[in-house]
């Protein structure tokens, strides 16, 4: 309770974010991940703790409140898990140097992480080494004082990663989209890509590929949000040959499509995903035509969770007024309108995920349930 006055502001910022999430004033995986990260940074900066458990408990508590506020935005939980992972990593690094914290957890991701330029952290680590003691009776704050700077660095890294996620996903775009369809005549010279919805990741991915490749994109309108139109406008304005088609024609056009590229809302532990409604139809049509389905998504969309009932519910139902205007008063009482935001796309319908980082070891298993 000693920490109350200082943490009040942090506590308040958690509440504010929670109610914003609940009221859907912040939507979208990346925006929620960013906001969560900023709140966590504030919480850590203000938090008072004298050992690791206390710090983890504080973060978990915040995480739980945020996740409960909006369980449908998985990137909130993912961000919390990621931060917890970093906390442990930095703690182990600080207390025991570069010694591998957990036995038998050698992984490529760690190798990659440590290969990244983090010179300053390394310096601080060596400074902190030895002086960092948990539960120091003389100076209970010394632990926090020692650990906080490195944690701030780590959170900054996660922030940077979020900010560069589009670039990193798009880095290899040219390897996935081809100008030539070997074996066909010149009419078929360029590849035809089908996408739907307005995913920033997919947009950047396609634009990146357009620098080196010549190809066409078919964009489905994606009712009822119709933000496929926005996507089509954006793509064509950067010089990509773009066709905007109604959703109903997806199956009919699939025979001409070389690749389906989709965005994701969240990628589940079983390899399935939630994506804008219409994705399931596109993926199924692609399967019928043996067209490959590629999903572009930032690493923060990967969640360690899944459950058995995804197929029975599209998870999130929005406002029926997108489908049937409220002003159609006489109809409102006579029909039930459902407006699912997302489709669950089974793992067997997806051929490849393209993301910005390698997978395992971004979260610790013990954090799966916050």
């Amino acid at each position: 309770m000693v920490s109350e006055p200082r943490s009040a502001a942090a506590n308040r910022s958690v509440e504010v974010l929670a109610s914003k999430l609940r009221r859907r004033q912040i939507v979208g995986s990346r925006a929620t991940a960013l906001e969560t990260l900023l709140v966590l940074r504030q919480v850590i900066a203000k938090a008072r703790f004298s050992n690791l458990e206390q710090l983890v408990a504080i973060i978990r508590d915040v995480g739980r409140r945020l996740v409960d506020a909006q369980p449908k935005e998985h990137s909130v939980g993912n961000t919390v898990r990621k931060v917890l992972h970093h906390i442990r990593e930095e703690f182990h690094a600080a207390t025991r140097g570069v010694e591998v914290p957990k036995p038998a957890s050698f992984s490529i991701s760690k190798f990659v992480l440590q290969g990244q330029p983090r010179k300053q952290v390394a310096v601080q680590k060596s400074e902190a080494k030895g002086t960092l003691r948990e539960n120091d009776p003389d100076d209970p704050d010394s632990f926090a004082r020692g650990l906080k700077p490195v944690l701030m660095e780590a959170i900054q890294d996660v922030l940077d990663e979020l900010e560069t996620v589009y670039d990193n996903v798009s880095k290899n775009a040219k390897d996935h989209i081809h100008s030539d369809n070997l074996g066909y005549s010149h009419d078929y010279a360029s590849e035809i890509i089908l996408t739907l919805g307005m995913s920033k990741t997919v947009e950047q991915f396609l634009k990146a590929a357009a620098h080196v490749r010549n190809y066409s994109v078919i964009v489905a309108e994606t009712a009822p949000s119709y933000n496929g139109r926005e996507m089509a406008k954006s793509l064509s304005s950067s010089g990509i040959s773009t066709f905007l088609v109604p959703d109903s024609s997806i199956f009919a056009l699939m025979s001409r499509v070389n690749k389906v590229i989709l965005g994701a809302h969240v990628i589940l532990a079983n390899g399935g995903m939630f994506a804008v409604s219409g994705s399931l139809m596109a993926a199924t049509a692609a399967r019928a035509h043996s067209t490959p389905v590629v999903v572009c998504a930032g690493q923060f969309k990967l969640t360690p969770l899944w459950n058995l009932y995804h197929e029975y519910g599209a998870l999130d139902f929005g406002n029926p007024s997108d489908v049937l205007g409220f002003e159609n008063g006489d109809l409102v009482d006579k029909v039930d309108v459902v407006n699912p935001y997302y489709d669950y796309v089974q793992p067997e319908l997806i051929d490849a995920y393209i993301t910005n980082e390698l997978l395992k070891e971004t979260y610790d298993d013990e954090d799966n349930e916050l």
Binding site: V16, R24, G313, F317, G329, V338
Partner: protein
């Protein structure tokens, strides 16, 4: 410690803002539509979808970033205060500072509450005014922004009302009480507001002519849902203070401000494109808003996402919401229908069905029972094999096995009925108050409960079951004298009642139409009616057959007014009042009844003519009698205002035509001429008027008389002509008044119908032509032309004085001379 620090943080945040966004919630309904559910708690604490209405209102405001909320509590104020104290909104971090204001018990209307806000000086800047039963996800902050921007250029834009397009027949649009908004489509300024009522049915509305002339384009909209969210400037409460008779915010304030010639304030509408907002203003809208919430029209304000009560529900397909805390017990064989909400710790037994209903927390539904379209508050126990249909069941109610609750029942907290009870549709039950309740209740407005309790002996309670503790509220409509006026009358309440289609009410209206529109008669009369814009084009059949009803009421009011005038004059004649006093009395009468001047004049002329005693067989005596009366009282015609001798002659003609004193027309006219009340020119002008010939009138003795009178006029004019030419030769037949003798002869002998019917094709008389000019709403521009084309016969009351000025311009000098 924690709370304190958080509070200081909150206050600091408020201080940082340039301007705190304030809101005022009127947490009292000021009506009794939810009785008996509201005998023990205020409406704003009734749950809808398992969260108190007030919490939904707070959430609606929190969404908009409102920082300070004043809750005006009246009935059960302590309960409201405690509820606020214990709600999550009082916890640190809610971002809202909520201040309950206990207003006096004598606050009987929203207007009184506004005056209280003024006297307490609560608001300091533009504020949001809502009722305590609002469910909304509209971005009110956006409305506030638009309002403030407008205020920057127009200081008279005092209010912005949020409305939502919904169509006429939307379930959420109140049928008993709705509104027609006349908007300027470009600025969305609200130019005119009319309250629409289910019963007595509002069949037409009147739009002042100036609106149509000043605005090239107007929208007359009967498809808007009034969300009762008003962004008010700080002077709105003071306007209520200045106008102590404003009771209702819409019917009195908005209508009053817009029709006022003095205030010159503007009110705007904000037609919300996105978002949902509606008020639980009666039991019918309670149902429709529950349905709207369950079918997610209020998204993201839905049970599984942002439940204001903080409950967590699992949303499964078909809009079924089950509390997520694993406390709900659903039997394997039970049936949960679509659009259903089930609160935590509730048990639904075998073979029970819950369809399109809301079940509160800790309820039990017995085996084989069927709950359909019903709303159960917490702790309700329903026995086996019960049927509950379209009803609201209060907290802690026990319905024992085998009972039947048909549609429209309201069962208040704590009632026990059954076993095997069978209720009437629309039954209302509550428990008898015990002594402690009565003592604790100092409200004083529970007289109706007492009455209900007193009347129990005469009611057969056997249908309620042997264990029942319920008292039955009156089923039949109240006695005539108890009937309240305005929207709270019994028949209109039926439009607001859960499950009531009120289809028979509409039929009743056509049965006794004349008695049904006392409201209109006060504001309308013959002339006024023709300026009304029938909104039939916009609404639909329900407003289609609007034309004749107000006409009847207009005539009624007219007849009433006429007898008033006659009585007043009879007294003046009998008691020998001075002309001044009599005219003052008439002017007052005219103001009180709000009738156009012409009506007064007609009544006065009629009274004077009837005052003349008929002297048989003595022409000289008759002439003397006439001149006595006219010289004594004739001046009164011009004293009542708006001197227009031509009109006077027309009126005299019209009256004479139906009077037994027809034969005196010529003599009376001559006497008026003698008294300088009418001049030669006026008689000529009258004579020249096409309608004076009366050619278009229907055949009959009256028309004959009418035409005779015109003929008399012709003779008089001939004599004038003759006089003019002969005057130099100083040849005179009769130096006082040439026409009378001949005129009386003419009235009895001369008949020239052929000639006049040939000439009089141009136009009809003034009453018959009116009916063609009722302007159909819709095409506003053409409407305005129509109105201006029909100069004389149709003119709104407000314009009638100016009419007198313009048409009387040529005679204004005369008027001065007469005075």
């Amino acid at each position: 410690m924690a709370a304190k620090s958080a509070n200081s943080g909150k206050e600091k945040l408020i201080d940082e803002e340039e301007e705190v966004l304030q809101a005022v919630i009127l947490a009292d309904s000021f009506n009794k539509r939810f009785r008996p559910l509201t005998t023990r708690k205020p409406r704003c604490l009734l749950p809808i979808c398992n969260a108190p209405l007030l919490d939904w209102t707070f959430e609606s405001l929190a969404l908009a970033g409102v920082q300070e909320v004043f809750v005006i509590c009246r009935s059960h104020a302590e309960l409201v205060k405690n509820a606020i104290k214990e709600s999550k909104w009082s916890k640190p971090g809610s971002g809202m500072k909520i201040v309950p204001i206990m207003t006096a018990k004598e606050t009987f209307s929203p207007g009184d509450a506004m005056r209280d806000i003024y006297t307490r000086g609560l608001v300091t800047s533009d504020f949001v005014l809502v009722m305590g039963d609002l469910v909304s996800n509209i971005r009110i902050d956006e409305v506030v922004r638009v309002h403030k921007e407008r205020r920057r250029t127009n200081k008279d834009a005092i209010m912005t009302m949020v409305v939502k397009e919904s169509g006429v027949d939307h379930r959420t649009r109140a049928k008993g009480e709705s509104s027609v908004f006349v908007l300027d489509p470009k600025t969305s300024e609200c130019l005119h507001y009319e309250h629409i009522q289910g019963y007595p049915a509002t069949k037409s509305i009147s739009v002042p002519r100036e609106i149509l002339t000043d605005h090239p384009e107007v929208d007359i909209r009967n498809d808007l849902l009034d969300c009762s969210i008003d962004v008010c400037s700080v002077e709105v409460p003071s306007l209520f203070q200045d106008n102590f008779d404003y009771l209702d915010i819409r019917r009195d304030f908005v209508h009053g401000i817009l029709t006022s010639d003095i205030l010159m304030k503007n009110i705007y509408c904000y037609v919300a494109e996105e978002g949902y907002a509606a008020r639980v203003q009666d039991t019918r809208s309670y149902e429709s808003i529950s349905k709207d919430i369950l079918s997610r029209w209020t998204f993201p304000l839905v049970p599984d996402d942002n439940h204001p009560g903080g409950h967590i529900y699992e949303h499964t397909h078909g809009n079924r919401y089950i509390a997520k805390d694993n406390t709900v017990v659903l039997a394997r064989t039970c049936n949960i229908g679509t659009n259903t909400l089930i609160g935590s710790s509730t048990t639904v037994s075998d073979n029970a069905s819950v369809i399109a209903s809301v079940v509160g927390e800790k309820c039990t539904i017995g085996a084989g029972s069927i709950i359909r379209n019903s709303y159960l508050f917490e702790n309700v126990a329903i026995g086996a094999n019960c049927h509950v249909e379209q009803s609201i069941i209060g907290a802690g109610v026990q319905i024992k096995e085998g009972s039947r609750i048909p549609k429209g029942c309201l069962i208040a907290d704590g009632v026990i009925i059954g076993p095997n009870a069978t209720l009437e549709p629309f039954e209302r039950l509550s428990v008898k108050r015990n002594k402690a309740d009565i003592e604790a209740d100092e409200d004083g407005d529970d007289s109706d409960v007492e009455e209900v309790e007193a009347s129990q002996d005469s009611i057969d309670r056997s249908a309620l079951g042997k264990d029942s503790n319920a008292i039955v509220w009156p089923r039949a409509p109240p006695d005539e004298e108890d009937e309240v006026e305005g929207p709270e009358n019994y028949e209109n309440q039926r439009f607001m009642r859960l499950g009531d289609t009120a289809s028979d009410v509409v039929l009743d209206v056509s049965d006794d139409g004349s008695s049904s529109d006392d409201e209109e008669s006060s504001s309308s009369d013959d002339d006024d009616f023709h300026d009304r814009e029938s909104v039939s084009g916009l609404s639909d059949a329900s407003m289609g057959m609007s034309m004749d009803m107000p006409a009847i009421s207009g005539l009624m009011a007219d007849a009433e007014f006429r007898t008033e005038v006659t009585q007043s004059l009879e007294r003046a004649f009998a008691e020998g009042h001075s002309v001044e006093n009599a005219s003052v009395e008439l002017k007052t009468l005219r103001m009180a009844s709000n009738v156009p001047l012409r009506r007064v004049k007609e009544a006065v002329v009629a009274a004077i003519v009837e005052k003349i005693v008929i002297v048989d067989g003595d022409a000289a005596g008759q002439r003397k009698e006439i001149s006595t009366v006219i010289s004594r009282w004739g001046d009164l015609i011009n004293r009542i205002g708006g001197v227009d001798p031509v009109e006077t002659v027309s009126i005299l003609q019209a009256h004479s035509a139906v009077s037994t004193r027809m034969s005196l027309f010529g003599q009376i006219l001559a006497a008026l001429y003698q008294e300088d009340i009418v001049e030669e020119d006026h008689i000529r002008a009258w004579h020249a008027l096409p309608e004076s010939k009366g050619a278009d009138r229907k055949e009959g003795p009256e028309t004959d008389n009418f035409q005779k009178a015109w003929m008399i006029g012709s003779h008089m004019i001939q004599q004038f002509d003759a006089q003019a030419s002969e005057s130099e030769e100083s040849e005179s037949e009769d130096d006082t008044a040439p026409p009378p003798s001949k005129a009386s002869a003419a009235s009895s002998k001369q008949k020239q119908p052929v000639e006049s019917s040939e000439e009089g094709t141009e136009s009809g008389d003034d009453t018959a032509s009116d009916s063609t000019e009722g302007v159909d709403g819709g095409e506003s521009e053409s409407a305005s032309e129509d109105v201006s084309a029909s100069e004389n016969s149709s003119r709104p009351v407000s314009a009638s004085t100016s009419e007198d000025e313009t048409t009387g311009s040529e005679s204004e000098d005369d008027g001065v001379i007469v005075r």
